[in-house]
């Protein structure tokens, strides 16, 4: 499926824009390698994917992409400091048991990091819970309460506050919201379905830059 056709993958297009030409990238939770292939094609990026699914890793390798089968949190911890230009975590942060640790490793391993996640502050999600009294579901959060992989959902504001409190500098932010396309920053927490952030360790505190 093309990234455009899949709402959960609309962030791929934005991520590509945020990656430098010929960057060396590490894509955590890379799936079949769609984003890596897109980055190779449009940014001449080289790099690796990390993916827990054996079948998905085989698909990446079959497509001529570098890939490592393994748990995202465990594997990113194995890479040395500054070994990639950009470390990407697309729609996976909310599935991690320890997102803070993984973000720390991403900012250690990469010069910068790009994170995208579904915004749990989106108006439809708020209304779903408040008015219907049901666990929210949406195009980007299609799961039922009993089968969702999402254990750490957050809003745009939650994430920004988290970054501020941990010395993480937000270099770029892109908010994507359904039929409106890009969403202005002022309304992001209410209207963004998906948020994409480019991050780096604050210079003042940065021991890795």
């Amino acid at each position: 499926m093309s990234p455009e056709g899949n709402p959960a993958r609309a962030d791929h297009r934005q991520i590509v824009r945020l990656v430098e030409r010929r960057a060396k990238v590490l894509d955590l939770g890379c799936g079949d390698g769609d984003l890596l292939a897109l980055l190779a094609r449009e940014r001449e990026a080289t790099g690796f994917g990390v993916e827990i699914s054996a079948a998905a890793v085989r698909t990446c390798l079959e497509r001529g992409l570098g890939a490592v089968q393994g748990d995202v949190a465990e594997t990113v911890a194995e890479y040395p400091d500054g070994s990639f230009d950009t470390v990407i975590l697309s729609h996976t942060l909310q599935e991690l048991a320890d997102p803070a640790r993984v973000l720390d490793d991403m900012l250690r391993v990469g010069r910068d990091a790009i994170v995208s996640f579904p915004n749990f502050g989106h108006v439809a999600i708020r209304l779903s819970y408040v008015l219907r009294g049901r666990m929210p579901k949406s195009r980007v959060l299609p799961f039922e309460w009993y089968n969702t992989p999402n254990v750490h959902l957050m809003t745009v504001l939650d994430f920004e506050q988290f970054c501020a409190g941990r010395g993480i500098e937000i270099l770029d932010r892109v908010y994507l919201g359904g039929p409106f396309g890009r969403v202005p920053a002022a309304l992001a927490n209410l209207l963004a379905e998906t948020a994409v952030f480019r991050l780096r360790r604050h210079r003042a505190r940065g021991s890795y830059s």
Binding site: R21, R22, G33, L36, A37, L39, A40, R41, E44, A45, T46, G47, F48, A54, V57, R58, L61, E62, R63, G64, L65, G66, A67, V68, Q69, G70, T75, E78, Y79, P80, S83
Partner: protein
Amino acid sequence: MSSPDPGRTSPAVCAAPRSGGVGLVETLSLELPDGLELEGGARLAPITVAYETYGRLAPDRRNAVLICHALSGDAHAAGLHAAEDRCAGWFDDFIGPGRAFDTDRWFVICSNVLGGCKGTTGPASIDPRTGLPYGLSFPVVTLRDMVAAQRRLVAHLGIDRLLAVAGGSMGGMQALRWAVDHPDAVASCLAIATAGRQSPRAIAFHEIGRQAIQADPAWRKGDYYVGPAPDAGLSVARMVGHITYLSEEAMQAKFGRRLQDKAEFGYELATDFEVESYLRHQGDAFTRRFDANSYLYITKAIDYFDLGRGARSLAAALARARASFLLMSFSSDWLYPTAHSRELLRALLLNGQDASFCEIDSAAGHDAFLLEHERMAPVIRGFLERVHRRWTGGGDGGEGDGEGGESLAQRRRGAEGEGSG
């Protein structure tokens, strides 16, 4: 009830010829009159290296792939020696047009290891100083020595740098050795169902095999080439080895507790179970094609293998390599379990080296590396194309030749645009 031949699908028996392979091939020989200085200090000369090749070397010589065989393998990796052969080469499922190692794309080489008994110099070869077989006067060889002999062969074929060195089990250890010992001569390393060092458990199983051979009165301290060979000992060694190549699940599925040619227990000390009959058959068949002294020397070489030895760590040893790595393991392999591949992976990642890894889910145990070609082939093909594309100037992850070319053009434009500042 017994199945007709439980070993028929096992690689230990043979790879049945399939259509569309490399066809008729022959084993060639390279003579190295000056031999080699061995890791153990001795000089072995002269040395003969038996080898086969499939496919054609490209004019730019960037398409050569060396396949390294495992303990009981030989140079005959693919195709048939005669049209009526019932067995194809040991890796035939993986080598041929359109197969994992595509002979329409790559020039594939396989040679018998030093110390072997299938054409390359080993303990059964004639010692020119005495005119008699070496026997135990053959010097102990290591995987480093085997690789050094292969290096001479590859140079003889006019190849400075291999696109890939690939192998499973002991073959994977050789591939790793190649990448570390000859970093400029290897663009990629496919280390399959293997480890960075031989584990104590694996050494222990080898030692049982060696003791079985040496306890056979016919062994006569290796001096048996004029009389009967120590077939009983070698057969037991093979039986033990074979158990380590199978998974519990595979043995359950293949044999269960079925009895061989009888409906009831015999209440006698003879073969009752199908698994016993299978192992005996495997052991017997092995004595007809393998030399007991070679078994001693090659298992010893594997046991000595420890990539990190002489370096500060496994990672420090691997840091010398400049190859791209593909590691593959199999979920039910308990001889070289996934944890061993992950140890290698961790070391490579720590060094920031180009390493890919996947575990294939398989019930076939260690033998899976010879059997799971359907799932391995696309991975191997994709990896080799990536390495070749990078070596010959293309980009990453292109999904067709056109894209690779475009990517290169883009890169050039990009370099100009940014003024390489």
